[in-house]
């Protein structure tokens, strides 16, 4: 038995470690270009670009009015970002109708800038500028377009968040009864919706780095439970999966909130934008579960009576990757 488990562990490490070790490099944080029409008729432009000890700022924001061709009124260099600010006093050209663009994108680094415009009447516009689409025309968004963007952002966040997806996969592997699985996923959803709203609205504030490390730890816990369950040792997670999913869902909600806090919410439409983002997350989660269930069914059909080590490979793969993320987020961050 021990030898088989060791074999499973070795296979999981061999499968996952190369992937985990290479999950480093450029950190991909977005830049921010914020254009705000102030109450006195002026405009404040703020451009924040991530920098690292080995990578200096290399992007240049532009507006078709030429406002940003002037030297910035202030340049602040922090540990991880350089912030340039401009101030435009009245009389001035209108912001709406101008084109904002970013020069100097390096496609190989997946760079992107989140463009956010807040007009004097409280309406807003949000867009992503990337190497593929480095410019955007500034215009007031209608509420539907704005909400659809937040819906898409939520779906994108879960789709490209392997830690969240692996947690859901672990739940699907652990809870075989369909109705218990529905209950467990629902508990996870309720919990992360709660903390997502609380953190985004500023009711609760938690350090993102710590939360990300604990999210990775939740995966380690789940992987251990998968191994214990395979041995017939039904732990807390196997007995009351909904309760544990509820607890860990609270943590994952803080993780989702970090994305939304990066983007910000449109003034005057906060509840609907928050709801749209959350619905996007749920849609992505449900789509993942629906995609994974038939896959697992086919594999179980093909495997027949799999050997112990083969059954344990998913658990060890999840655990190995999660443990790497824990170390990365605690030690390397």
């Amino acid at each position: 038995m021990t030898a088989r488990v060791m074999a499973a562990a070795a296979m999981a490490v061999l499968l996952v470690l190369p992937l985990a070790v290479t999950l480093t490099g450029h950190d991909g944080r977005p830049g921010h270009l914020e254009i705000v029409e102030t109450g006195d008729g002026g405009v404040v432009v703020r451009f924040s670009e991530p920098v690292t000890p080995t990578m200096a700022a290399n992007l240049t924001p532009r507006l078709s009015s030429g406002w940003l061709d002037a030297p910035p009124v202030a340049i602040e260099r922090g540990g991880d970002a350089e912030v340039r600010s401009w101030r435009v006093d009245p009389p001035r050209d209108p912001v709406a109708g101008q084109t904002a663009a970013i020069d100097g994108f390096d496609p190989s680094f997946n760079e992107a800038v989140l463009l956010r415009v807040i007009f004097a009447d409280g309406t807003a516009m949000t867009a992503f500028l990337t190497a593929r689409q480095p410019a955007a025309v500034l215009a007031r968004e209608d509420a539907i377009t704005s909400r659809l963007q937040y819906l898409w952002l939520g779906a994108q966040h879960i789709a490209f968040g392997p830690d969240h997806l692996l947690f859901v996969l672990g739940l699907v592997l652990l809870v075989r009864d369909r109705w218990r699985l529905v209950g467990t996923i629902t508990a996870f959803t309720l919990a992360h919706s709660l903390t997502l709203a609380a953190a985004t609205l500023g009711v609760v504030s938690v350090p993102v780095d710590a939360i990300e490390a604990v999210i990775a730890l939740s995966l380690v816990f789940l992987a251990v439970e998968l191994v214990r369950d395979d041995r017939g040792q039904h732990g807390l997670m196997a007995r009351t999966p909904w309760a544990v999913a509820l607890a860990f869902g609270l943590l994952h909600g803080f993780g989702f909130a970090s994305t939304l806090l990066d983007v910000g919410l449109p003034q005057g439409d906060v509840p609907m934008a928050l709801l749209a983002f959350n619905l996007g997350v749920e849609a992505g989660q449900i789509a993942f579960v629906l995609a994974v269930l038939p896959l697992i069914a086919v594999l179980r059909d093909l495997a027949g009576q799999p050997r112990t080590w083969a059954r344990l490979v998913p658990a060890y793969a999840i655990g190995t990757l999660a443990m790497y993320w824990v170390l990365e987020r605690v030690v390397l961050s």
Binding site: T22, T24, H26, P30, T130, F160, L302, A303
Partner: protein
């Protein structure tokens, strides 16, 4: 070659807000999306899965394992080699060939199935791995390719194995013939 060939690049650039949580995951997703957004890869993966699913369970299981392993190794080798390859003809030929085998619904000897799976996986592994750019992390990109192959083939195996009703078996064979037809049409378009 296909209208959606830009999708993997888009995947690599879009999820910047997630990349700050799991650094550099975009290369993995670019690899994952590369084969499934190119018709010549996607339909061949489906066809090879259907072919494996038409065989006995043990043969299908070993074919799936073999396919993923060969895809992983050859994509990695091609990525390390780093040379642009023009394999449209062989790729479409594999699509037509495997599609025809599915349409024929033959119970092939296991060795023939494994040979076919190995050849297809090697060809498509090389073609996908050669798309690796210097800016990408090779292991992540190749792991994404292998996962895409695994998922698509597993679905296809499942479809073929669940096709117990007579009409369902015919539907699988028809799917094979359509894949072969698409391959012929694409071949004609490429060589025109």
């Amino acid at each position: 070659m296909t209208d959606v060939a830009w999708l993997p690049a888009a995947a690599a650039s879009v999820p910047v807000l997630v990349a700050h949580i799991v650094p550099g995951v975009t290369d993995f997703y670019a690899g994952l999306l590369h084969p499934v957004t190119a018709v010549e890869h996607l339909l061949t993966f489906v066809a090879i899965g259907l072919l494996a699913g038409q065989q006995a369970r043990g043969v299908a299981r070993r074919a799936l394992t073999l396919f993923v392993c060969v895809l992983l190794v050859t994509a990695g080798l091609a990525g390390a080699h780093g040379r642009t390859l023009h394999l449209e003809g062989p790729l479409l030929a594999s699509m037509v060939g495997v599609g025809c085998l599915v349409a024929a619904n033959w119970r092939l000897p296991a060795a023939a199935v494994y040979t076919c799976v190995t050849a297809v996986a090697a060809l498509h592994g090389v073609a996908n791995g050669a798309e690796l750019t210097p800016a990408m992390a090779p292991v992540r990109f190749v792991a994404g390719i292998a996962l895409a192959g695994f998922v698509v083939m597993t679905y296809a195996v499942g479809l073929a194995r669940r096709a117990e009703a007579p009409w369902a078996g015919v539907a699988v064979r028809a799917a094979g013939s359509w894949i072969a037809a698409v391959g012929v049409l694409a071949w004609g378009a490429v060589t025109r």
